[in-house]
């Protein structure tokens, strides 16, 4: 006779509908046949109090709740309990909410069933997710840690992992295999360009996941060289922003650091868009650019036009084009090793 040891799964359901909580507690307890410990909370405060006392495998959140809704609570959990598995279970599913929840870290977005049979499907999905625990290791939070440091740790330890990175606008992955950075992707970018772009980010969140072989390895070379190059490019972007040429005052730095648009007094300007790319046109850094392709084409076009002008008159090597518009000022700098587009809004008196 063999004894089977079954690990019980702990699930916390947060929903302001007490009747719904009672129903699923009864229904899911029956379906789980003793394999689930079900906890319930009627609001985020009760949920947080429970999470402070016990460790659960899965938190299941309703969205439409008074005070703090489920999406806000999900985002809060991302900060207070990073790594906590969360599923959304809502009666008001929309595509926009699904996208927001999944981008905010929810592992599942499920719609509350309208017929009793539908609960079997929900149970199966939650059961599978609650059982899908990450590989062994510590779970916790590291504050004030840069991506470079995390990458160094992984590479030095010859680890294999995937570093998943999130900010408000950027979502990307860096794959590390046996201590070598083998792939990076961020939006439509891949390879070193994506890696440098992510390493230039000023802040955000990350998850360290078990290694999965990427569809294609896009990065070669020693990780030390890659990280040094990333640091150099980031410094270069910073020094341009801090130079007199780039900006008149420290306010612009604050804007670059990611604050919301500032109401500036007349005469001052704020940076609204930056694109920095290599001499070959690979994007190294991008900030608030809604039309990246268009900007790259513009820089290429300006380089061609400047070359034509240089051949017509003895003006020498091209440095930059400054454009004054009704909205502000644009600087397009084209150097052999880099191209830079900076758009600033506000009033100004001069160009060049």
């Amino acid at each position: 006779m063999s004894a089977e040891i079954i690990k019980r799964k702990a699930l916390l359901f947060v929903d302001d509908d007490v009747g719904f909580l009672t129903s699923i507690q009864g229904l899911f307890s029956e379906m789980a046949r003793g394999r689930w410990d079900i906890f319930t909370a009627e609001n985020h405060a009760q949920g947080l109090a429970l999470l402070a006392k016990l460790r659960v495998d899965l938190v299941v959140l309703d969205i439409g709740m008074p005070g703090m809704d489920g999406i806000q609570f999900l985002q809060l959990l991302g900060r207070t309990h990073p790594g906590q598995q969360v599923a959304m279970l809502t009666g008001e599913a929309t595509e926009e909410r699904r996208k927001t929840c999944l981008e905010s870290g929810a592992a599942l977005f499920l719609e509350k069933p309208v017929v009793p049979d539908g609960f079997a499907g929900i149970f199966a999905a939650l059961d599978a997710l609650a059982g899908a625990q990450p590989q062994g290791g510590f779970r916790g939070m590291m504050r004030r840690v840069g991506l470079q440091e995390v990458l160094q740790l992984e590479c030095l330890g010859r680890k294999s992992s995937v570093l998943e990175i999130f900010t408000g606008k950027v979502r990307g992955r860096i794959s590390i295999c046996d201590g070598a950075i083998v792939h990076a992707e961020s939006g439509t970018l891949q390879g070193e360009v994506a890696l440098y772009g992510m390493l230039a980010l000023r802040g955000g969140e990350f998850n360290l996941l078990p290694y999965n072989e990427p569809p294609r390895r896009t990065i070669e070379g020693q990780w030390e060289s890659l990280l040094m190059e990333a640091a150099r490019l980031t410094d270069e972007g910073q020094s341009f922003l801090e130079s007199d040429e780039a900006g008149p005052d420290a306010t612009e730095q604050g804007q670059f650091a990611g604050s919301d648009a500032l109401d500036l007094p007349p005469g001052q300007m704020r940076i609204e868009e930056i694109v920095l790319c290599s001499g070959a046109g690979e994007v190294l850094y991008e900030w608030e650019s809604k039309s990246l392709e268009l900007r790259l084409r513009l820089l290429e076009q300006i380089e061609q036009q400047a070359t034509q002008l240089s051949s017509l008159a003895p003006v020498g090597r091209f440095d930059r084009l400054e454009i004054l518009t009704a909205e502000g000022r644009i600087v397009c700098q084209v150097q052999p090793d880099r191209r830079l587009f900076v758009r600033r809004a506000g009033t100004t008196a001069t160009v060049a």
Partner: protein, 116 residues
Amino acid sequence: MKDTLQEFLDRNLPLPGLAACSVRLADRTFVSRCYSDWFTSAQVEQALSRLALAADSLGYHGIQPSRLGWVFEHSRIHLALRRDGACLAFFVENRPGVTNPKLEGLLEEFTRLPAL
């Protein structure tokens, strides 16, 4: 007509560091003055044609310029655009010590001159 432009140029030019000046009127004719042997009239007029085309092409990128400054190793080219299609380019030496505070005012004044 062109008298307004001639009067504007006579009254304000030359300027220290200004190597050449060229105006392309809406009818595609040019009025050019060269103050240095760096540039010939033909060169600045050809260059201004290119600069005007380049300014037009910015419209494809959603940029509507009122003034442009092309900075090269030896020269800065300041371009002012008028709504009637006329444009003015100042070709200024790009070397330390050459600054011309009047330049900006003149570019601005050019855009506000009565019909050329």
